[in-house]
């Protein structure tokens, strides 16, 4: 039997332990979120800072009022002007396509790594992470050199005689997809690899022994078991890809419409911080809420 004092101490310890992630969440997510939310309901102004406060003391006929002005127009603009919905839809589409492509590229790589002898794996992991030692921006610039009309790729294809005219890839959506897939590939490979590495190889042998061809065993055993890794990888690629700004800016063409770019326009060119904040909030709600909901369903599914 534990003494009451000891129990209390344990309870306090547990509270602290749980409290740390919550404090983290509060400080680095909830607080900024609240600030942006407040901003999204204020009115833009030519001032420093370029918006009006939403809470003000107002004196009227000698009486003091606490006036709260919430500008809903920012959100109405989002819905009213098709641009924002279109940008959002286009971002989702590009991010989803890139995620699927990244998955298709990453899975065989992760599988190959996981099947390698354990002593080789650290080197392969290092190789996957090696690009991170170079600045992200430089790597995207490098892709411009590869993809441009007289770039490496076209030179190669022309030399091989596969094409007769240079392909226009740079400044198209294809280039954006290539850029996103390349940049986020490690985020897809690593969680899938971490998952596959833990798979018991005898499971596949058992499946084969029970009458599966290896390809069927792959689909029925490896893929379902890799689901948590695949999901983690997809979220790690999809979420930042939706808000991606640099890659479409550098590799994309004039008609590549993405929400990150729209937000940039509102924030910098229009100096409309409130509307930019509204875009950010809407993006968060449209993206994070369904994901949280989805993960919650997943968790419930596991319990059952």
């Amino acid at each position: 039997m534990k003494g009451k004092a000891e129990r209390d101490r344990l309870a306090l310890g547990r509270l602290l332990l749980i409290g740390v992630p919550f404090a983290w969440l509060g400080l680095f997510f909830l607080l900024p979120f609240t600030i942006v939310l407040k901003l999204s309901l204020s009115e833009p102004a030519l001032a420093q800072p370029p918006y009006l406060p939403i809470v003000e003391w107002v004196e009227e006929a000698g009486e003091l009022y606490l006036a709260i002005r919430l500008r809903v127009q920012n959100y109405l603009t989002l819905v009213g002007d098709g641009l924002y919905l279109a940008a959002f839809a286009s971002s989702l589409r590009i991010a989803a396509t890139a995620t699927v492509l990244a998955l298709l590229v990453a899975f065989p790589i992760a599988l190959g790594m996981a099947r390698c002898p354990p002593r080789v794996r650290p080197f392969l992991l290092l190789a996957v992470m090696l690009p991170f030692w170079t600045s992200f921006l430089i790597r995207v610039y490098a892709w411009m050199g590869i993809l441009k009309d007289d770039g490496l790729l076209n030179a190669l294809l022309l030399t091989l005689g596969l094409i007769e005219e240079p392909l226009v890839i740079l400044n198209t959506e294809t280039a954006v997809l290539i850029g996103i897939v390349y940049s986020y590939l490690p985020f897809m490979i690593l969680p899938i690899f971490a998952n596959l590495e833990k798979h018991d190889p005898s499971l596949l042998e058992a499946a084969v022994d029970l009458g599966c061809r290896p390809i069927v065993a792959f689909w029925r055993i490896t893929v379902p078991l890799a689901r948590p890794g695949i999901l983690a990888g997809c979220f790690l690629v999809f979420i930042p890809a939706v808000g991606e700004f640099v890659i479409p800016d550098l590799l994309g063409g004039a008609d590549t419409l993405m929400i990150g770019r729209t937000l940039w326009l509102e924030f910098f060119t229009n100096r409309d911080w409130p509307l930019a904040s509204a875009v950010a909030i809407a993006m968060l709600l449209l993206l994070v809420v369904p994901i949280v909901f989805f993960l919650r369903l997943q968790a419930l599914g596991r319990l059952r």
């Binding site: 499971l203 042998e205 499946a207 022994d209 029925r220």
Partner: protein, 384 residues
């Protein structure tokens, strides 16, 4: 473990290997498997008959698991052939073999329920749903898994997992069921019980089982015959009693059960009686199983400790199969006691006696002067 458990003879046994006309069901012919420079399996030839519960026994690394995986098709032999039911299986991939395996780790699919795990193999055969359900239900009853069908593997105990693994392989109605250390993860009591269950199931279904184990007791309990393997080769094949009573080499004698090994030299053979001299003991040893040998050839005599009698008075005949010494130590193991006797020349021999009397009434104690003796039928002469 000081004594091997008596071989269970509860059921009448057919002994096809005694029948010169019987056709072996599984034939392993000159199979060799190398991993780089290492010979995991070295030119093994082995016949297993229909309905046998065949045990592959040996220390770890002896190649028994590799041999089993060759049967399953999970490893390709470097050379040699494997035939099952008359068909050459050497080039048949595992998914087409009429063979199923129960893995040491059970290899249950963690994302599938018990029911789905068991049905997995049948779904690959594209059987009608109703038939799958029926056969799954049947095998679930057989291994007593009723009520657990919807659980996931991580919600099962070790014994339950073991039974799911068994059911998953059995439901395919394989011609040969392979079991790779199937009971290794269970505690002793559960293991003993499961061994008997396995035998009963095998008996009832009339299937051919091949089990790999490093536990000689298990091999002897379940096996109709067993093969002792050492360094990729088969050291001896036989029924458990044959192997226990008449080991073919010092390795087998020492690996299966406890044994006293005495160095000896060939003296003479007279009909069914063979005499050897044990210079270290200064006695002659008589056996009723002669082996061909040259005069003076170095031999070994194996005597099981439980076949040695221990007494404070010399036996009637002391000229052979009898040595004198002093009780150096007594191991009390409950059912039996092991007497470690130091001979006058410093050698040790062991004798086992059943504790028919209470400890307190035991007539022999430490530092007693004793005589160890055994019958001609208890001495086995070994050449290697």
């Amino acid at each position: 473990m000081t004594t091997a458990r008596p071989v269970r003879e509860a059921r009448p046994r057919i002994e096809p290997w005694q029948d010169p006309d019987a056709v072996p069901f599984v034939r392993i012919q000159g199979v060799t498997k190398t991993f780089g420079e290492v010979y995991a399996v070295d030119n093994v030839t082995l016949d297993i008959f229909k309905g046998e519960f065949f045990a592959l026994l040996g220390p770890s690394g002896c190649g028994k698991s590799t041999l089993l995986r060759i049967l399953a098709g999970l490893e390709r032999p470097t050379s040699g052939r494997v035939l099952i039911d008359g068909q050459d299986m050497t080039d048949v991939p595992p998914w087409r073999r009429p063979v199923n395996m129960m893995f040491q780790s059970y290899a249950l699919f963690p994302h599938l329920s018990v029911r789905k795990n068991i049905a997995f193999g049948l779904e690959q055969e594209r059987l009608p749903r109703a038939e799958i359900a029926e056969r799954v239900a049947e095998v679930v009853r057989l291994v007593h898994l009723e009520g657990l069908e919807d659980r996931k593997p991580d919600q099962l105990s070790g014994g339950q997992k073991q039974r799911v693994a068994l059911a998953r392989a059995l439901v395919k109605r394989p011609k040969v069921l392979l079991l790779d250390e199937p009971l290794g993860a269970l505690d002793k009591k559960l293991r003993d019980q499961t061994q008997l269950e396995l035998v009963n199931i095998q008996d009832r279904l009339g299937l051919t089982f091949v089990i790999v184990t490093h536990d000689q007791e298990e091999a002897m309990t379940v096996g109709s015959r067993m093969a002792i393997m050492r360094e990729g080769q088969i050291a001896q094949i036989g029924t458990p009693s044959e192997i226990y009573e008449y080991p073919a080499s010092r390795f087998v004698a020492e690996f299966v059960g406890e044994v006293n090994l005495i160095e000896a030299r060939f003296a003479s053979v007279n009909g069914t009686t063979m005499r050897v001299r044990a210079p270290a003991l200064g006695i002659e040893i008589v056996t009723d199983r002669p082996v061909p040998a040259l005069p003076g050839e170095p031999l070994w005599v194996a005597v099981r400790p439980e076949k040695m009698s221990i007494a404070k008075t010399p036996p009637a005949e002391t000229g052979y199969n009898c040595v004198e010494g002093e009780v150096f130590d007594i191991e009390y193991l409950g059912d039996v006691s092991v007497y470690h006797v130091r001979l006058d020349n410093g050698l040790f021999l062991r004798a086992t006696e059943a504790n028919k009397l209470r400890l307190i009434e035991r007539p022999i104690t430490w530092e007693d002067r004793v005589w160890l003796s055994w019958g001609p039928d208890a001495s086995v002469v070994l050449k290697t």
